[in-house]
């Protein structure tokens, strides 16, 4: 029986993580174990047959843990591959706790990807949030503790909205828990609630500010994991349930542009990359919104390519942070002589995300834009093309230029520390870089994994000409206005202002107006309340003493007098009462029988 043999890849990671603290001995043994667990999960996904597995009856519900089809396979494939790469990158992290949290986080993501009902989805959805927050906390800075709590609170809110949506759906459909196309043609309240739960994890503005907030503050290896899993699992969930939901097209376009604008302003390399996740996920959200087979293929392909090149970029900038303790452009610059290989890896990531021919983004992103043009969605398609100019501007040009070239802002200490990172980090970057180029050069590798048959050819002369013109003229603009883009030592306010400063406004409001109102009210209460109260109290005290007590005592005396009389009347005459009662009963009985 296949069902009996089916092992959930999430189970491999969870068991692997739980056994992790018991793996002792030399470093080699530990590293082999760290390699083995994600490798087993990856092989498990590769060898998995299609079908439905892991069906469990729980109370009235049928829970399905394993729905293996085209859509879940492509996501499972890339998630476990990225888990392997990320684990290799994070091997030299202090202690194993980061890897422990990361594996549970990936397990959450895989659980969502393979489940077929909303209960299992919700459980794993929450596992993701509650394990990934440790990847922020483990950074150990004061800011990371607060950023982690904000991350957790926002995701708890998202989880509750999702839960409300699926409970309403359960009631409205008479107990339907299946996780599939939700019926985007006739959306109801629960459709929107579930959608909000999903798009919060996809970081759609205005529900996106958690992303740069947390990812910029995460540990070096933690950010590599985080940039891959949360948003792309949300894209999977949207592709599964909301393909063709019209509102996702404008939302995706807004995301793509929003990320670009904030990336221009950003001074921190990893926060810039985080904003660019929002931009890139915008393409996928728009792709899901378009909803045709080509667009869904494009969204999946782009998620696949994105996980690799964004992971690579976070690994590159993470290496700079790891070696120099700096991630701000205003503290870096001119490092190509010190970290040349890291530069090359990051550049490969940058060229991939910018969709240069022969790199992965070229064969994935264009599929979404082409699907837009194909459906005659001219504005979205042109705006997404505009955003792709922005992608090259920041990630392909700004990041490499201001870290490895440009003005050298390094302190002496930073310059001394800068060097290419330890070998495991380089191996991880090399593997990711290999896949970025391999996917771009050999299209069948990715296209054969996609859920629908692909009838798209990215390497036409016109598409090459179009892309190269946009990219290289963007580069021209960059070098002409490079001074304008010079790093500024600032942060940019975003929607997190509302819950960061908003809480301060609330606290101020609680301290100042409410407190003084409270004081004033106390005074009013004292003057207008307590003083008359005391006067009245004294009056009532006098009244009680003289009035009430007099009346009560008088009453008591009266009652006592009558009681004395009554006592004299009933003086032990029980036999007389009984004879009166017997006589009465006799009279009633005679009257009753005589009238019958």
């Amino acid at each position: 029986m296949m069902t009996d043999l089916w092992i959930h890849p999430a189970a491999v990671l969870i068991i692997g993580a739980l056994l992790l603290p018991f793996v002792r001995g030399p470093r080699v043994i530990r590293n082999l174990y760290l390699l083995l667990v994600p490798l087993l999960a990856f092989i498990n996904v590769l060898t998995m047959a299609k079908g439905t597995f892991g069906v469990i009856q729980f109370m009235d519900w049928t829970l399905t843990f394993g729905r293996v089809d085209g859509l879940s396979h492509v996501f499972g494939f890339i998630m476990t591959l990225m888990c392997l790469i990320g684990t290799v990158y994070g091997m030299n992290a202090k202690g194993i706790r980061e890897i422990f949290a990361a594996w549970l986080y990936v397990a959450g993501s895989l659980g969502v990807i393979y489940c077929a009902d909303y209960i299992v989805l919700f459980l794993f959805w929450e596992l993701m949030a509650f394990s990934s927050v440790f990847l922020v906390w483990f950074r150990g800075r004061k800011q990371s503790i607060s950023a982690g709590y904000r991350y957790l609170l926002v995701h708890t809110f998202g989880g509750l909205v999702l839960l409300a949506g699926l409970i309403l759906r359960y009631k409205a459909t008479g107990g339907d828990l299946s996780f599939g196309p939700i019926g985007v043609d006739s959306p109801t309240l629960y459709t929107y609630l579930i959608m909000i739960g999903f798009i919060l994890n996809a970081a759609v503005p205005p529900l996106h500010a958690w992303l740069p907030d947390a990812y910029g503050e995460a540990t070096v290896a933690g950010a590599v994991f985080m940039c891959a899993f949360t948003t792309k699992t949300a894209i999977y969930a949207l592709a599964r349930g909301f393909a063709g939901m019209d509102i996702l097209v404008p939302l995706g376009v807004i995301m793509a542009l929003y990320g670009v604008v904030y990336a221009v302003l950003e001074n921190d390399a990893r926060r810039l990359l985080a904003y660019h996740i929002i931009s890139q996920v915008g393409y996928m959200v728009a792709g899901v919104g378009i909803g045709t087979e080509m667009a869904i293929n494009g969204a999946c392909a782009h998620a696949f390519a994105h996980i690799l090149y964004k992971g690579l970029l976070f690994m590159g900038c993470g290496s700079v942070l790891f070696m120099t303790d700096k991630s701000k452009f205003s503290d870096l610059g001119g490092l190509y002589k010190k970290m040349p290989r890291t530069f090359v890896y990051t550049l490969i990531g940058g060229l991939s995300i910018s969709a240069f021919p022969l790199f992965s983004g070229f064969v994935s992103k264009s599929m979404i834009v082409a699907a837009g043009f194909h459906e005659h969605l001219m504005w979205p398609a042109f705006l997404l093309t505009l955003a792709s100019a922005g992608t090259f501007l920041h990630t392909g040009l700004k990041v490499p230029y201001f870290i490895w070239f440009g003005k050298n802002n390094c302190s002496e200490e930073t310059w001394e520390k800068a060097d290419d990172p330890p070998v495991n980090m380089e191996i991880a970057m090399a593997v990711a870089a290999f896949f970025c180029i391999f996917i771009g050069c050999y299209t069948p590798f990715l296209y054969n994994l996609l859920p629908y048959p692909v009838h798209y050819h990215p390497y036409t002369a016109y598409h090459l000409s179009e892309s190269m013109q946009i990219l290289l003229f963007t580069a021209l603009g960059f070098f002409l206005f490079v001074k304008k883009l010079a790093p500024e030592v600032v942060i940019s306010l975003d929607f997190d202002w509302f819950y960061r400063k908003g809480s301060k406004v609330f606290m101020w409001f609680a301290r100042k107006p409410i407190q003084s109102f409270d004081n004033a009210w106390s005074e009013v209460y004292r003057v207008a309340g307590m003083v008359p109260l005391m006067i009245t109290a004294r009056f009532w005290s006098w009244f009680d003493w003289h009035g009430i007590d007099g009346v009560v005592d008088g009453l008591a005396r009266v009652v006592g007098y009558f009681a004395e009389k009554l006592r004299w009347m009933q003086n032990g005459q029980i036999a007389r009462y009984l004879s009166f009662m017997a006589g009465g009963v006799f009279v009633v009985l005679v009257w009753m029988f005589s009238s019958m």
């Binding site: 093309t385 505009l386 000409s465 179009e466 963007t474 600032v490």
Partner: protein, 87 residues
């Protein structure tokens, strides 16, 4: 090796810049020559048909717009001091 490769171009900045301008010009020329890129079949809209070097203009204008609009937006008060949230 990587450093030497980069330094080779940095030492010959003038030549590098000219080379880049040459590539840009070549791209526009390729776009303008009819029948070379299959524009007639693949173009999505009329602008691509009738404006020579459309995507070059688009790329440059897009880049300029993004830089200036974003910076304008940032200087409206969105960009602020780093310790803004600390107090």
């Amino acid at each position: 090796m990587i450093v030497q490769f980069i330094d080779f171009f940095r030492d010959r900045m003038k030549m590098t810049v000219r080379l880049c301008y040459g590539v840009l010009a070549l791209l526009v020329i390729i776009d303008i020559i009819p029948g070379l890129t299959g524009k007639e079949h693949h173009a999505h809209s009329w602008v691509e048909h009738y404006i020579p070097g459309w995507w070059s203009i688009f790329g440059f204008v897009a880049c300029t717009l993004i830089i200036f609009v974003s910076k304008w937006f940032g200087h409206l008060g969105i960009m602020t001091r780093e310790d803004y949230y600390d107090d």
